[in-house]
């Protein structure tokens, strides 16, 4: 029955169409629009090609620069925190003990809750009058209550905490999958050679779980760079613009202000940033991994 490569293409076609339609097309369209001045509320200005003007404006826009820094700080804090905590959780969940099944399911709960719901929940937790956060810290001493979402210095930290709570279990899940792929014989052999628990972790677990760590880092970095819903629900970018991450700023430009060209330029920058960071990860960690494999 098989003649040539035709059948394979036929099977691949639906997913190719899907990717082209829903991934490639929007990306290409964002690139294209970012070179135009298109303001929906001023249709008489038309859709004028302006070359790099949007990008030049972006480079000198103090709000955009501030958003850029905010996004980077957010990524730099949440991603390592999530992967490290996730690693810890995965190591615990990988041990066998009573109630492990329950614990594994419980750990996934934050990840399973829709982000919008989780954001709303954290908004309540951080409320300055009835929030659980204040009650735990100060009990009845209401005069000492904080308003984390109202403090320019704390609002971003509050959002980071919510993000770490929400997505650490996702990192843990990926890392756990990596841990389960490590053959038990390696640990047995190491025990016979008299290796300590730390040595086993350092020389067996860590190198072999690295691909999973890389994957977790990669996913979390891209996701953290695109954080939107937490900001949307918890602070709307405030107070004093301290939580106005790049993705939220771009959203505001396109969806609230109708500045499609400028907003698309922001979207493209976010896209390129995730792309560059992903490539760096794959290069750095991936290369080292490959080198190790070759030397084995």
């Amino acid at each position: 029955m098989r003649n040539g490569r035709d059948p394979i293409w036929r099977f691949l076609l639906p997913s190719c169409v899907f990717v082209l339609l829903f991934s490639l097309y929007p990306i290409v369209e964002s690139f294209r629009l970012s070179f135009y001045r298109l303001i929906l509320t001023l249709p008489w200005l038309g859709q004028r090609f302006v070359g790099w003007e949007n990008y030049r404006d972006l480079a000198t826009d103090p709000v955009a620069l501030n958003s850029f820094v905010t996004s980077l700080v957010f990524v730099a804090v949440t991603t390592p925190a999530e992967v490290l905590l996730g690693l810890g959780m995965a190591l615990v969940l990988n041990e066998s003990f009573r109630g492990r099944g329950w614990l594994r399911a419980a750990v996934l709960v934050p990840w399973a809750i829709p982000t919008v719901v989780a954001s709303q929940m954290w908004r309540f937790i951080f409320n300055d009058r009835y929030g659980l956060f204040n009650f735990v810290l100060f009990g009845d001493a209401t005069e000492r209550y904080w308003a984390p979402l109202a403090e320019p210095g704390l609002a971003l930290v509050a959002i980071m905490i919510a993000d770490i709570w929400k997505t650490t279990s996702f990192a843990a899940l990926i890392i756990l999958a990596g841990l389960q792929g490590i053959p038990a014989q390696l640990y047995e052999a190491a025990s016979i050679d008299g290796a300590t628990a730390w040595q086993k972790f350092r020389h067996i677990t860590l190198p072999l779980v690295k691909p999973a760590l890389l994957l977790a880092l990669l996913f979390r970095t891209i996701d953290a760079l695109k954080v939107f819903d937490l900001v949307f629900v918890m602070t709307q970018g405030g107070p004093a613009d301290t939580t106005n991450v790049l993705q939220f700023y771009g959203y505001k430009k396109i969806f609230a202000e109708g500045m499609v060209g400028y907003g698309s330029a922001i979207a493209v920058v976010v896209f390129l940033l995730s792309l560059i960071l992903s490539l760096i990860y794959i290069r750095l960690l991936g290369a080292r991994l490959l080198a190790k494999e070759r030397s084995l």
Binding site: V17, L21, I39, L40, T41, L42, P43, W44, L45, P62, V63, N127, D128, R129, T142, E143, W146, A147, L149, A150, E151, P152, T235, Q236, G237, G238, P239, A240, D241, N244, K252, F255, A256, E257, G258, M259
Partner: protein, 422 residues
């Protein structure tokens, strides 16, 4: 592919609507649902075969705007009638999203409404929305607390601060706050701050020359007052994260002396099911700075019709029904929101139940609109950023921030001037 998808969805819609005409009304969740359901049921009774589908969007004006404009951008023919905040009609008109209603809603009929919301619904000589109710910022206060210390309602902002400090010092209640209002970085912040600025004789912009006036001495002085005298003195820090519901909850729990909100708060604060301070609530026009006039920000909601609706005539009949005298009266009776129709302020039955409408009439007549321009949203985002930075940070450099905000506003406004040239 696109044609196929369209065909699929058309089939889907057609099959669900078999034998019945659907009219989709995009609304936010009202505080009192019963009256809306009754009004819609009345409309359906008068139009057999018509089913009004209510699509409920978010309560926050900003988020509701994003929902409605997304449908309009996508030229969604499904949405027929939608709510518009008073700041949107010129944007929707300029973008070609709202249907001009001149043939349905002639000037003679427009005269039956407050002038300010009608002006906000007009753009380049056409009308794009029918006002349903008007809003204006008012000051609520605890009558019992003021009486206890023999104080009259404050006429000026410094007086309000002084009274709040006195009461706070004597009451010694750590839960009590002096002034509860909306200082989160969102649209409500612009309303609150513009009331301070304009009641100091300053303005947000120069409408003639399309220039921002945020860096005028009077405007900066008002902003500085809020930062130094309100936020850091008589309010607790939490107000910087408050929208209407949180600030009102504080007041109805009896934990705020003064509260700034829209007229709907009167109904809530006097409802024993939702408030601990019924009967102790006073309402007055907002204070002004000494020697200046009180200014309330104009708010309110209108009904508009989508240009992409295929049922304009039916949609209009629905709008006419919902904004008619009878409907506005019932909404006012049930929700305490101020009707947009002037005649209702002489309606004996309504005034008997809601006597405070008599005082609100003048506030509504004098209420000041936010800048009426298709680029209001970009302007508002610049102002929100500026006001939040100025009042949330104790040692903010207001001169510098105001200068930058005014410059950014001027840049956005220059788009309008550029647009006029061929």
């Amino acid at each position: 592919m696109k044609a196929l998808l369209t065909a699929f969805f058309v089939c889907l819609i057609a099959s669900s609507a078999a034998g019945q005409t659907q009219l989709r009304f995009v609304t936010w969740k009202p505080e009192t649902t019963a009256v809306w359901e009754q009004l819609i049921a009345d409309f359906e009774r008068r139009h057999p075969g018509v089913k009004v589908i209510r699509e409920v969007g978010p309560n926050s004006s900003t988020e509701f705007h994003d929902l409605v404009t997304q449908k309009l951008r996508n030229q969604d023919a499904e949405m027929d009638v939608f709510f518009m905040d008073v700041i949107w009609p010129s944007e929707f008109a300029a973008a070609g999203w709202a249907l001009p209603l001149d043939r349905f809603f002639p000037v003679a009929q427009q005269k039956e409404f407050f002038a300010a919301p009608i002006a906000a619904n007009r753009y380049r000589g056409h009308i794009y929305g029918v006002p349903l109710f008007v809003d204006a910022g008012v000051l609520y206060f605890r009558k019992d607390l003021l009486a206890k210390y023999r104080l009259a309602p404050p006429r000026t902002w410094p007086e309000l601060v002084e009274q709040a400090r006195l009461i706070l010092a004597r009451e010694r209640d750590p839960y009590l706050t002096g002034y509860s209002a909306q200082f989160k970085q969102y649209e409500g912040l612009v309303c609150n701050m513009m009331e301070f600025i304009m009641s100091n004789g300053a303005t947000l912009w120069d409408e003639e020359n399309l220039k921002s006036t945020l860096d005028s001495a009077g405007a900066k002085q008002a902003v500085r007052f809020v930062r130094d005298q309100i936020i850091r003195t008589i309010s607790h820090r939490g107000v910087l994260a408050y929208q209407e519901p949180e600030s009102l909850a504080l007041f109805t729990q009896g934990k705020a002396i003064f509260h700034r909100n829209w007229p709907y708060a009167w109904e809530v604060a006097n409802d024993p099911k939702r408030s601990k301070i019924t009967g102790q609530v006073g309402m007055e026009p907002l204070p002004a700075f000494p020697g200046q006039k009180s200014v309330a920000a104009l708010g309110g909601w209108q009904l508009g019709i989508s240009r992409f609706s295929r049922k304009a005539q039916l949609a209009w009949e629905f709008v006419e029904h919902m904004t008619g005298r009878e409907a506005q009266k019932r909404i006012a009776l049930a929700t305490g929101r101020g009707p947009a129709r002037l005649a209702l302020y002489h309606d004996g039955e309504l005034l008997a139940k809601e006597p405070h409408f008599r005082e609100l009439y003048e506030t509504f007549t004098l209420a000041a609109p936010r800048p009426i321009t298709p680029v209001y949203l970009p302007l508002s985002n610049i102002m929100q950023r500026y006001f939040s930075s100025a009042v949330a940070i104790a040692d903010s450099d207001i001169d510098q921030l105001a200068h930058l905000a005014a410059r950014d506003m001027d840049r956005v406004l220059s788009l309008l001037q550029g647009g006029r040239l061929p």
